[in-house]
């Protein structure tokens, strides 16, 4: 099918207001890439530039090896699924799916065949005569999906297609879209701000912040080896805990106000003594008992307990630091108690104070 390559793509709507900044992204053939980032970071703008709905301010965009900067949307051979579905309200499901082919003057018989196939793929065969108004949100999204696959494009673009659906339907559609994409093998770029969607669907995740690419990697790598504090905090729910500490003598860090001190022979930080550093630890890496691995201990107060059924979240406090821990549901812990927590040293992420870049430790 096709690969998509963004080379130094920038976009500004007004001078001195850069929305997408020197973006480099290579989406391989058949790959499913998810663009994530907080609201306003330029995800939709990026997608719309790929679609041709927005001009590219600078940089080159290649689809299937061909420079398409100046190609109108219709000649880029892409299909886009919009957040609000963008179904033609006065057309039936069949007409909606057939519209693109009809414009291309495809033979009626062929249209019927292709649309029927697509409707089958998205499980909408029995609704072909309905108007969008008479469909549920999930069904509308299916029609939008069907309309995209009917045209058998080189690239699928999705802009938060599931954000108008309820939680359960979202999970279901997530699986269906992923399965469909695998089956069709169409190169896909999918925008979401939901990091669960990103983790579960993507071959690779591109994390954006303020129009700048933060990390482009597999879901597990972005989770386990975030390149900076932003990615570490954005990927994962509940998000990673951060504490600002000071590098002390060798093998130790302390809290600036002396609340705690971590010292261990495995704790080796390649930064000078006295320098501030950010310590990051995921909620599931805070343990209630010491495991056999190298750990440090911290005494915290329980502020709140949130039972989820399958697990519980503990909200904890030590001095100015608020932490979240994720524990088994059946451990009885009451609010306002002091407890000891253990952090495995090799699970700690270190980030430069200020820049937020990840610090490579030898372990």
């Amino acid at each position: 099918m096709a690969e998509v390559r963004l080379k130094n793509i920038s976009k500004s709507f007004a001078p001195n207001n850069v929305v997408v900044n020197e973006l480099n992204l290579h989406v391989a053939d058949k790959e499913f890439v998810v663009l994530v980032g907080p609201s306003g970071c330029g995800k939709s703008t990026t997608l719309r530039m790929i679609a041709g709905l927005e001009d590219i301010s600078s940089g080159q965009l290649y689809i299937d090896g061909k420079l398409v900067n100046d190609l109108p949307p219709k000649d880029r051979d892409i299909a886009m699924v919009f957040q609000n579905y963008a179904l033609y309200p006065h057309m039936t499901v069949f007409e909606n799916m057939a519209f693109g082919l009809k414009l291309k003057k495809v033979d009626k018989k062929v249209i019927k065949e292709v649309v029927t196939q697509a409707a089958e793929a998205v499980d909408m065969l029995e609704f072909l005569d309905r108007k969008p108004k008479a469909l549920s949100g999930g069904q509308r999204q299916r029609v939008a999906l069907g309309r995209a696959i009917v045209r058998n494009p080189k690239v699928f673009l999705f802009d938060e297609p599931l954000s108008n659906l309820d939680a359960k339907l979202r999970v279901q559609m997530r699986i269906e879209i992923a399965r469909l994409q695998t089956r069709l093998g169409t190169t896909t770029i999918y925008v979401t701000h939901d990091q669960v969607e990103a983790m579960t669907m993507a071959d690779r995740i591109a994390v954006l912040k303020d129009g700048i690419l933060q990390q482009y990697d597999t879901p597990l790598n972005t989770y386990n080896h975030p390149k900076n504090q932003f990615v570490a905090g954005f990927i994962g729910s509940p998000s990673m805990n951060f504490m600002e500490v000071i590098k002390d003598e060798s093998n130790s860090v302390t809290d600036p106000s002396g609340l705690f001190k971590f010292k261990h022979s495995d704790l080796q930080l390649p930064i000078p003594q006295g320098q501030k550093v950010i310590l990051g630890i995921r909620p599931e890496d805070l343990y209630l008992e010491q495991k056999s691995i190298a750990s440090v201990k911290i005494a915290v107060r329980v502020v709140a307990v949130e039972p989820m059924g399958n697990e519980s979240f503990l909200h904890l406090q030590i001095g100015p630091h608020l932490l979240t821990a994720r524990i088994k549901p059946d451990i009885p812990i009451a609010k306002d108690n002091m407890i000891d927590l253990y952090m495995p040293i090799h699970k700690i992420h270190w980030f430069e104070y200020g820049s937020g870049s990840s610090i490579n430790t030898s372990n």
Partner: protein
């Protein structure tokens, strides 16, 4: 307490009630009574039974006036629809001075009809009117805008369209605003050209607005009066004699009050029937 409250409520609706009785109920009832009488305002009313209605059935002038009014509607409504929609489509785009143009097109709506009519009378002038000067400038021959029976009603329809188009532009703009841009973008991706986007997205979306514009301009078109009254007095050769103008003339020119009332009542029923038909047609489609 309760009585007091009731009294108070009546007191509150009294102004409206007075207005209604004085300006709606009484004229309607009085004019129905009038249709069975002969009355020239000065001498007392004289009962004449159904004579007015008999006269109406044979009145070729009234027929002509109705015919003229329909001709006016047939020119005015499509013109209004096309121009209002066209301008609304243009004004929807992000043009410079969009706000200025939007107000400019609306201005004639709020200007007095008499003023507009007098202004256009100048524009339509045969010798020195700007339209004819443009035509002669282009090497074409003059048109007798208001003095040629073939053109007079057309001229009036053009002017009426100019006067009211601002209102309908606004209605269309509101209708157009309700079309999500993502529909056009989806169509762009599927390769629709501007005409196809208009045909398959815009037009169906503003269908309700179109119906509304048709109904509104039908009703306002039926009451065509000021324009021919001021510009042509119904001429030349009665070619711009509208139904309402004819009724006015019967009443306040010839003082045939009874007959004018009969014409008015009949014409009101005709309008009612036409609008009812239109509504039925709209509801069915």
């Amino acid at each position: 307490m309760k009585i007091k409250k009731t009294l108070y409520s009546y007191l509150l609706v009294t102004p409206y009630l007075l207005h209604f009785i004085l300006f709606v109920a009484f004229p309607v009832i009085f004019s129905i009574v009038l249709t069975f009488h002969k009355w020239n305002i000065i001498s007392p009313m004289q009962f004449i039974g159904l004579s007015n209605y008999k006269k109406l059935l044979l009145d070729t002038y009234f027929l002509k006036a109705c015919y003229n009014t329909i001709i006016f509607l047939l020119i005015h409504i499509p013109l209004q629809l096309a121009i209002a929609l066209g301008l609304a489509l243009v004004l929807r785009e992000n043009l410079k001075l969009r706000g200025f143009f939007r107000s400019a097109f609306f201005l004639p709506v709020v200007v007095s009809g008499v003023v507009v009519t007098i202004l256009w009378q100048q524009l339509y002038g045969f010798e020195s009117g700007i339209f004819n000067r443009l035509l002669t400038g282009l090497g074409l021959s003059r048109i007798g805008w208001l003095i040629d029976p073939k053109w007079a009603m057309v001229s009036i329809a053009i002017m009426a369209t100019w006067k009211n188009v601002g209102l309908y532009i606004i209605l269309f703009l509101v209708g157009l605003q309700s079309v999500p841009t993502s529909l056009y973008e989806a169509a762009d991706l599927e390769g629709a050209n501007p005409w196809q986007k208009f045909r398959f997205i815009t037009l169906p979306a503003i269908n309700p607005t179109m119906f509304m514009v048709v109904i509104l301009s039908t009703i306002s078109g039926f009451s065509l009066f000021i324009e021919p009254y001021v510009m042509t007095g119904g001429g030349p050769l009665n070619s711009t004699l509208s139904a309402v103008l004819y009724i006015y003339k019967q009443g306040f020119f010839y003082y045939h009050m009874g007959y004018a009332a009969t014409l008015g009542l009949t014409f009101a029923l005709v309008i009612l029937a036409v609008v009812a038909l239109q509504r039925k047609w709209i509801e069915s489609s």
